[in-house]
């Protein structure tokens, strides 16, 4: 809970700071995609949905608070000739991602990103996992109108769980609407 509060305050702080900064660019938009559980035999893959708000504080850096929700698939196994199903996790995440460059300016952009977030995973019969995680990957930003960009990203989420981790490869596509162009 403390960690969640810290992340929330951090995200609000960044947003408030950016809103006052001269020339700051702010956008917002939904995205969707697919999470593939890596080396995890006790949970499946699933769709991911979220919203993110890129804030270009300077020409070279964009900070992007985000929220995402993913419903991971069940695991079906047969033991002793009987079929069993283990429910997959429901995963909720919020945090902030750092992007090199601005994804709200004109033109096609290719960019790397890396971020940190608070991850919560829960399912029936298991203790909730509430841990800090990291995400990183690469993305493309393609203009699709005066204030709209299409964002396509591929990356990885890694949630540290004491001595090991849970990892997900993911691909997402979304749109970003520019609320404040900084002009």
């Amino acid at each position: 809970m403390k960690r969640a509060l810290v992340f929330a305050i951090l995200a609000l702080g960044i947003g408030a700071g950016a809103a006052r900064a001269p020339g700051a660019q702010i956008g917002i938009g939904p995205y969707a995609g697919y999470n593939a559980a890596l080396i995890q035999q006790d949970t499946g893959n699933g769709a991911v949905f979220g919203v993110r708000a890129p804030i270009a504080l300077a020409p070279m850096i964009t900070i992007e608070p985000y929220y995402a929700s993913s419903s991971l698939g069940d695991v079906d196994e047969e033991f002793g000739g009987l079929s069993y199903t283990r429910s997959g996790f429901d995963m909720k995440t919020f945090g902030a991602t750092a992007i090199i460059g601005s994804i709200l300016t004109e033109g096609f952009k290719f960019y790397p990103f890396a971020g940190i977030g608070s991850y919560q995973m829960e399912r029936t019969g298991s203790e909730d996992i509430k841990e800090t995680g990291f995400n990183f990957g690469f993305g493309f930003s393609v203009p699709a109108g005066a204030k709209i960009h299409v964002q396509a990203r591929g990356g990885m989420d890694m949630i540290v769980t004491e001595d090991t981790s849970r990892k997900f490869a993911n691909g997402t596509i979304g749109i970003t609407y520019t609320l404040m162009s900084g002009e």
Binding site: V75, E77, F79, G81, R86, I100, T124, S126, T164
Partner: protein, 179 residues
């Protein structure tokens, strides 16, 4: 390209951090408990578990970090005339207790009660089973998994007299490993 210089040390930091490298994960191992009867008319039913007979366990034993998920599975029939709660108890070492009192006095409750009405047959659901583990039992199980992988489990009823049968019993473990 100059702007991407930061990403190499950042990725090295993430991949190199203890316990969060790419080579870690959750592996599913199942240990057959087979089919057995349990009754207060006979000695307590037990299973001597030896995880070192499982290839997946041996392959990752040196890198074991914990237990991500665990379940007792199978189809259980309450063949007695009273409602019962089926329980699984365990001892860290090899033991040969013969009565429920010996088991509950000296052992640690691992799982249950799985409640069954008289004459009812029910397949244990994986989700339900995972929620029936006691914290103390799970801690002991983790300790044994990280240790020699050998322990004894007992199946008993929580009623004064009981009679039940387990078909195709399985102990399913999702074990965490990391380099």
């Amino acid at each position: 390209m100059k702007n991407l210089r930061w990403i190499i040390p950042a990725l090295l930091l993430v991949f190199g951090a203890p316990g969060c490298v790419l080579v870690s994960g959750q592996f599913l191992i199942d240990f057959d408990l087979d089919t057995f009867d349990a009754s207060t008319d006979t000695a307590v039913t037990r299973a001597d578990v030896d995880l070192t007979t499982e290839d997946d366990y041996n392959d990752h034993k040196e890198d074991l970090k914990g237990l991500a998920d665990v379940a007792v599975l199978g189809k259980i029939t309450n063949s007695g005339s009273a409602d019962i709660g089926v329980e699984v108890w365990m001892t860290g070492g090899p033991t040969t207790y013969t009565t429920p009192t010996e088991v509950t006095t000296n052992g640690t409750k691992l799982w249950g009660p799985f409640n069954l009405g008289a004459g009812v047959t029910k397949q244990v659901a994986w989700d339900e089973s995972a929620g029936l583990f006691s914290e103390v039992g799970k801690a002991l199980l983790i300790n044994e998994i990280k240790g020699d992988g050998q322990f004894t489990i007992y199946a008993i009823g929580n009623a004064g007299t009981y009679q039940f049968n387990v078909d195709n019993g399985v102990l399913a473990l999702a074990i965490e490993f990391g380099k």
